[in-house]
Structure formats: structure tokens, C-alpha cells
């Protein structure tokens, strides 16, 4: 039997820890994806994700079901992301380990897709990621929630606490910036 989020919440409040585990398993990936796309760092996104569930667990007895559980969870995650963005903004650094023959390792690796394809795919993703990083936080959040989490305009407005028209304007402005940046990149690669 599949429980709804709200049923699982009720059971968790009643002391059923398995129900909360079920909620975590159900929502950890979307929350992680939201955090990653907002702050752009894998490790920090994971921390934000864990902190989100910890805070949700602590605040669970106070959850009265005025909003959907997912919206409530998104709000916690977004607040944590906002805190992170305000606190620090660093660029990712990749450091190869010492005493490792990289060429040998590259030759020995057997990935499911070829390295060239993988690099090409990663490059494309990186272009989008870089373009997204240029957006102001509000525009990026609106795009992430709309594009990757499929929230309605109304849900986004309630989540971020702004009028519906503002959400649409942020989306339009963000998409326009992305259009310009992606076009620049397309020209550069030609």
C-alpha cells in the first residue's frame, strides 16, 4: 500500500519512524537536485539536503498541513540554500590525488559511455550551469522550480512569497539572460 505524504506525516508525528524514512526516501533526490541547482556544489547540496530533513523532522509536530508537505519541504530547502548563498560563494576546485598515474588510470577506466561522449555531455551541462550561475538568485530559483520541479506559477508564488506576476517576470527575465548567454556559447563553439 502506498501512503500519501500527508498520511506518512501523520504517522511520523504519531511516532512511526519508518514513515519518516519513507518520506526521506521519496523526497531526498528532488531536494538534493533543488539544492544542487541552486548552489552548484555537490557536497554542499548534500549537506543542505540532510539539514532540510533534519529541520523537517524537528518541526514535524508543528506541521499542520496548511500547505503540501513537498511545498513545506521545498521552502525549508530554499531557505537553507539562501543562507548558503549569502554566507559564501566559492568556485569548485578539482584536485587529483597524489601518487596516481592519471594516464594509466584513464586507460584502465571502463565507463559505460566513451570518455569523449561523456566530456561532450558534461560540457553541455556545464554551459547551462555557468549560464544559470549568472542569474540573480530569485530568477534562478524561479527557473529551477518551474523547469526541474514542475511547480505551477501559483505554487512558486506561494513558496517564495511574491505575487504571481512577479514570478512570471522573473522567469521571463531569467530565460532572456540564459538565451543570450547560451547563444554566446553556441557562437564560440562554432
Amino acid at each position: 500500500m502506498t501512503w500519501t505524504d500527508e498520511e506518512l506525516v501523520a504517522r511520523s508525528i504519531g511516532g512511526d519512524s519508518d514513515s519518516f524514512n519513507e518520506l526521506v526516501l521519496r523526497w531526498e533526490r528532488p531536494i538534493y537536485a533543488l539544492a544542487y541547482r541552486t548552489i552548484g556544489r555537490e557536497e554542499d547540496a548534500r549537506d543542505v539536503c540532510q539539514e532540510t530533513f533534519l529541520r523537517a523532522f524537528r518541526a514535524l509536530p508543528g506541521f499542520r498541513g496548511q500547505a503540501k508537505f513537498s511545498s513545506w519541504l521545498y521552502r525549508i530547502a530554499l531557505n537553507l540554500c539562501r543562507d548558503w548563498v549569502r554566507r559564501e560563494r566559492r568556485t569548485p576546485v578539482v584536485q587529483p590525488p597524489e601518487d596516481v598515474d592519471l594516464m594509466e588510470l584513464a586507460a584502465a577506466a571502463e565507463p559505460s559511455e566513451s570518455i569523449e561522449d561523456l566530456v561532450a555531455r558534461k560540457d553541455l551541462a556545464r554551459v547551462v550551469e555557468r549560464a544559470m550561475a549568472l542569474l540573480p538568485e530569485e530568477q534562478r530559483t524561479a527557473i529551477v522550480l518551474k523547469e526541474y520541479h514542475g511547480l505551477t506559477f501559483q505554487e512558486i508564488a506561494e513558496l517564495v512569497g511574491c505575487p504571481l506576476s512577479t514570478v512570471k517576470t522573473r522567469l521571463y527575465q531569467g530565460l532572456t539572460v540564459l538565451r543570450r548567454e547560451l547563444a554566446k556559447n553556441n557562437k564560440a563553439t562554432l
Partner: protein
């Protein structure tokens, strides 16, 4: 790129976004209006196409696979029903029960004697030296020894085994208390034995669980190692690609520099030749003179 003007009467940006996503929140009338507008407005059509292209590109961006198996920590999630004493081992509970009995006996000044008159249990709350001197007096409970030398049954519950002279004490309030205490102790001992037997059973299961945990940890380690190798390989490929790109750029730069040097050299040679020609002319002129 089109530069044509758009004559949409409403908020064009909002309308474009609403039209682009079409999440059902738009008013049907507004949508029909914008639909008709798009048919006739080349600028809006272009913008819509471009924004759709942006959405297609956005779909390529997926976050890296999360490397956690997150689940609510059991230490953090404890059901309200669970209480601390359930986690106390059975042996500790037994020890606590025995201690409790001992302390109770001490407080009640319980005197247990086994002599020719049988097993004698006395409480000394109100006893006087005179009463103490009288075996089987008030506050005492005597049990007749059985033929095998073993006390028959519990001294506190077997009414028939009570020695003469203790009939008046049978109705005393402490007797009911002691009987209740005995029942409680019996229940606790029984439950302790049951729990001890139950806790002894799952030992093999725990061993299996440990083996399974070790197997999973190894699998996780293997997986992590493979992932790291793959990431390193990817990084190497990226570095090689960057090095190649840099090399190409350097070659182009060198080529250009060489061209410039050659040009400069050619110009210098030309100048030298001109100077030589001039010198030759001057020399010849001087020769003629």
C-alpha cells in the same frame, strides 16, 4: 534577428511565459487572445522559438548522482512510546529486582529463620522484645518443612501451610502486600526468562546481518572506487582536451608571430636592397665624376 514591433495590448513578458509553459493556470480567454496575436506577430513567434530552445538546453543539465543513502537517523527518530528502561538489559533488570527485594526486606525488618519449627518469616515494624521472644508471634509467618526437607511452596501464599498461631496474622495488611510483591516478582522473573530466551535466539540472525553489512560496505567501497576512477578518467580527458586546445592556440599564435617576423624581415631586406641600390648609384655617380 527580427526587430519588428509587437503590438500586444497586455503585459507581453508575462503572456509569453504563460504561453510558453501552459501550466493550466492561464485564463482561456487570455490564451486565445495571445494565440491569435502570435499568429500575426513575428517577433513574439521568434521569441517563443528561442525560449523553447533555451528550455531544451536547460533539460541537459542534470545534477550529479547523489552519493548518499539518506534515512532518518534512528537516534533522532525515537517513537514517543519507547522509554529508557526498555533498553536496559535483562540481567540488569533482574539485578535491580533483587536489589529492590533486599531493600524492601531491610526496610520491613524482615527476619527469615529456618529451624525445627519450620521456615519462619517475620516482619519487625511493630515488634517488641517480648514479641521477638515468642516464636510465631504477631507479625510472623511460619511454614512447615516438608518431608524432603524442602519448604513446601511459597511461604507467603500457601495458607494451608501456615503454622498454628499465625491465623490472626493471615488477615494482616502486610500479608496482601507481600503476596502482591511475590506475584510481581514471579511475573518479572518469567518475563526476564522469556526475554533472555528471545534475545538468545536472534544471535545467528545478527551474524548474518553483520555479514550482510560487511558485504554492503564492500560493495559501496567498490562502487565508490569505480566512480572515482571514472571521474579521474574524465578529468584526465578534460585536461588532455584543454592541453590540446591550448597547443592549437599556441601553434596559431606562433604561426602568426612567424608570419609577422617574416614580414618584418622582408621589409628589412627590401630596405637594405634599396639602400644598397642607392649606394651603388652614388658610387657610380662618384666614379663618373
Amino acid at each position: 534577428m527580427t526587430t519588428s514591433l509587437c503590438g500586444y495590448p497586455g503585459d507581453r513578458d508575462e503572456a509569453l511565459v504563460t504561453y510558453l509553459y501552459d501550466d493550466g493556470g492561464a485564463d482561456a480567454g487570455e490564451r486565445a487572445l495571445f494565440d491569435a496575436h502570435v499568429e500575426s506577430c513575428a517577433r513574439c513567434r521568434d521569441d517563443l522559438d528561442a525560449l523553447r530552445g533555451v528550455r531544451t538546453q536547460l533539460a541537459r543539465w542534470s545534477p550529479p548522482e547523489p552519493k548518499f543513502g539518506m534515512a532518518a537517523p534512528q537516534s533522532a527518530i525515537r517513537s514517543p512510546q519507547s522509554v529508557w528502561w526498555r533498553e536496559v538489559p535483562a540481567w540488569a533488570q533482574v539485578a535491580a529486582a533483587l536489589l529492590f527485594v533486599g531493600i524492601s526486606a531491610g526496610i520491613a525488618n524482615l527476619d527469615v529463620r529456618y529451624d525445627q519449627g519450620g521456615l519462619s518469616v517475620r516482619t519487625g515494624w511493630w515488634r517488641s522484645p517480648a514479641r521477638d521472644a515468642r516464636p510465631g508471634g504477631q507479625g510472623s509467618l511460619n511454614v512447615v518443612q516438608g518431608p524432603a526437607g524442602v519448604a513446601q511452596g511459597s511461604p507467603m501464599t500457601r495458607g494451608s501451610a501456615v503454622a498454628p498461631g499465625t491465623a490472626s496474622s493471615a488477615s494482616a495488611p502486610w500479608r496482601a502486600d507481600l503476596a502482591a510483591l511475590e506475584r510481581q516478582l514471579r511475573t518479572e522473573f518469567r518475563s526476564t526468562q522469556t526475554s533472555a530466551a528471545a534475545s538468545a535466539q536472534p544471535q545467528p540472525a545478527r551474524t548474518i546481518g553483520d555479514a550482510e553489512v560487511i558485504r554492503r560496505v564492500r560493495a559501496l567501497l567498490d562502487e565508490s572506487e569505480k566512480r572515482q576512477q571514472s571521474e579521474l578518467a574524465l578529468r584526465v580527458a578534460e585536461v588532455m582536451r584543454e592541453v590540446n586546445a591550448q597547443r592549437q592556440a599556441d601553434l596559431v599564435k606562433i604561426d602568426r608571430t612567424l608570419g609577422t617576423v617574416q614580414n618584418n624581415l622582408g621589409v628589412e631586406v627590401l630596405k637594405n636592397r634599396q639602400q644598397l641600390n642607392q649606394m651603388n648609384l652614388l658610387y657610380r655617380a662618384s666614379q663618373r665624376q
